[in-house]
């Protein structure tokens, strides 16, 4: 029986879809069977980041409404043999096309065949049902006050639900801003939100270029943002991986990264 993890945020554009794609890929790299579910109905883009866009035939709503079987709608990522699949979001504009019960049944079915089901959510607080279908939740924020405020709101709603306490990913950390004190640092954010930190991901322009190429950045072992995602995936698998340092002041930051990988 697999585990369903919902990836959510209060504010939009903080990196839920990027995180879903990269964590799914990282877990598949670790040999796990992963299914990504894009529930951002009307605004699908998980398929684009994974480079699977032109292989989509059916979508989530087609499955729910019985127009096809789950297996027909799942798109396989050929880079990972049988380990990474995507259930694409529908392009309809009806956000209520899927009821909580239907979603629950779907996820339960997927949990039989996959180790991890990662559910990429739309932003905001009006889609609580998608949280309750998961076993645990990951909240993504960036180190901006507005994003952290909205994360606080969504964490409150998640804590009221019948799932494990949510964990936090801080995405798009800019080392130069932290060193100059112009942004919230990791400690500020975790002590403000009082939840466990699952990991941090540096801001890196290759995240954007690799998304455009349909090849999640996590596949590049030398990329600093990729390291963040790989560490998070290992923590999801239960390993205890020390938090990477964001401090550039010390020489040999990249050297340290390399040595971590060559271990």
């Amino acid at each position: 029986m697999g585990e369903a993890i919902v990836i959510t945020s209060g504010k939009g554009g903080v990196g839920k879809t990027t995180s879903s794609a990269n964590l799914g890929t990282a877990l598949a790299l670790q040999g796990k069977k992963v299914c990504l579910v894009d529930t951002d109905i009307g605004l699908r883009n998980l398929d684009v980041i994974l480079g699977l866009e032109n292989r989509i035939i059916y979508d989530l709503v087609d499955v729910i409404e019985g127009r096809c079987r789950i297996q027909q709608a799942l798109v396989k990522d050929k880079r990972f043999e049988d380990r990474l699949f995507l259930l694409p979001a529908a392009q309809t504009t009806d956000k209520n096309a899927v009821t909580p019960e239907q979603m629950k049944d779907l996820i339960t079915e997927l949990k039989r065949d996959y180790d991890y089901i990662l559910i990429d959510c739309p932003a905001g607080i009006e889609q609580g049902y998608k949280n309750a279908v998961a076993d645990r939740a990951i909240v993504v924020t960036t180190p901006e006050i507005s994003a952290v405020r909205d994360a606080d709101r969504i964490i409150g709603l998640l804590e009221a639900e019948d799932i494990e306490p949510p964990k936090l990913i801080i995405n798009r950390i800019r080392r130069n801003l932290i060193n100059s004190g112009d942004t919230l640092d990791v400690n500020d954010i975790t002590s403000h939100l009082s939840i466990d930190l699952l990991g941090i991901v540096l801001d890196d322009e290759n995240v954007i270029s690799s998304s455009n190429k349909g090849e999640p950045v996590v596949m590049d072992p030398n990329n600093p943002a990729a390291l963040g995602y790989r560490n998070i995936a290992r923590r999801i698998l239960g390993e205890s991986v020390p938090l990477m340092s964001v401090d550039t002041g010390k020489p040999g930051f990249f050297g340290k990264l390399k040595s971590l990988f060559s271990k």
């Binding site: 405020r149 606080d152 939100l193 009082s194």
Partner: protein, 223 residues
């Protein structure tokens, strides 16, 4: 006199008191009250208190009694007092005396209300809201909104290990933490907010509460 007086009048240093018998029938009581109220001997006495003893006095009954007593025109009822209250009223009073404890983070968009005092163990984050009819004590950081004495108690206070609220309210007085106040509490550690005699909310060291609001202490007994 064979029959017990149903209404007795007593003069005290606090004024006239009408003591109403609590065993007789209510209708007899009203009748007797009517007579006593008309008694020309009472002329000149203005304010009276009414004590109903062990008779429960509903709002309806209180209205009736006041109406009869005041009908003659020369008496005014300043207060009705009974030795008994309903269970409901009793529970309400107990609740007001009690303090409720909330353990957790009050996050953005969440509200926590208490009928008496409120103790929060954890933080109140920005846009989180705590309120209480009594005082609010926070073991943690208050970074959101707090409203103490929300039913009008001006003696209520807001104390926090870290007082950095965006909005403070006590009774009907509200204070947004403007720059000025932020400067006042540059060290927001271990502070309390209270309603100053000048009508505004003031902030002082937690340790000063014993001088500012000694009445809040409920501790009884030995030193």
């Amino acid at each position: 006199m064979s029959k017990q007086q149903v209404v007795t009048i007593k003069g005290t240093k606090d004024g006239l008191i009408l003591r109403l018998d609590d065993q007789c029938a209510y209708s007899d009581l009203l009748e007797e009250l009517g007579k006593k109220a008309q008694d020309p001997g009472l002329e000149g006495a203005v304010e009276v208190q009414i004590h109903t003893g062990s008779r429960y006095c509903s709002d309806q009954a209180a209205k009736e009694i006041i109406q009869i007593v005041q009908s003659a025109g020369h008496l005014r009822v300043s207060k009705i007092q009974s030795d008994v209250i309903t269970m409901e009223e009793c529970n309400r009073r107990v609740q007001e005396q009690q303090s409720e404890t909330y353990i957790g983070i009050v996050r953005s968009g969440q509200e926590v209300h208490a009928k008496g005092d409120l103790v929060v163990i954890g933080d109140v984050n920005p846009n989180g809201h705590v309120s209480a009819a009594g005082s609010i004590y926070i073991l943690g950081r208050l970074k959101g909104k707090a409203h103490a004495g929300n039913a009008g108690n001006r003696e209520a206070v807001i104390a926090a290990s870290w007082l950095e609220a965006t909005h403070l309210m006590i009774a009907d007085q509200m204070e947004t933490m403007t720059d000025e106040l932020a400067i006042l509490s540059e060290h927001p550690e271990m502070e309390c907010a209270y309603l100053h005699t000048n009508g505004f909310i003031a902030i002082d060291r937690l340790q000063d509460l014993r001088l500012l609001r000694p009445g809040l202490s409920t501790f009884k007994g030995g030193s």
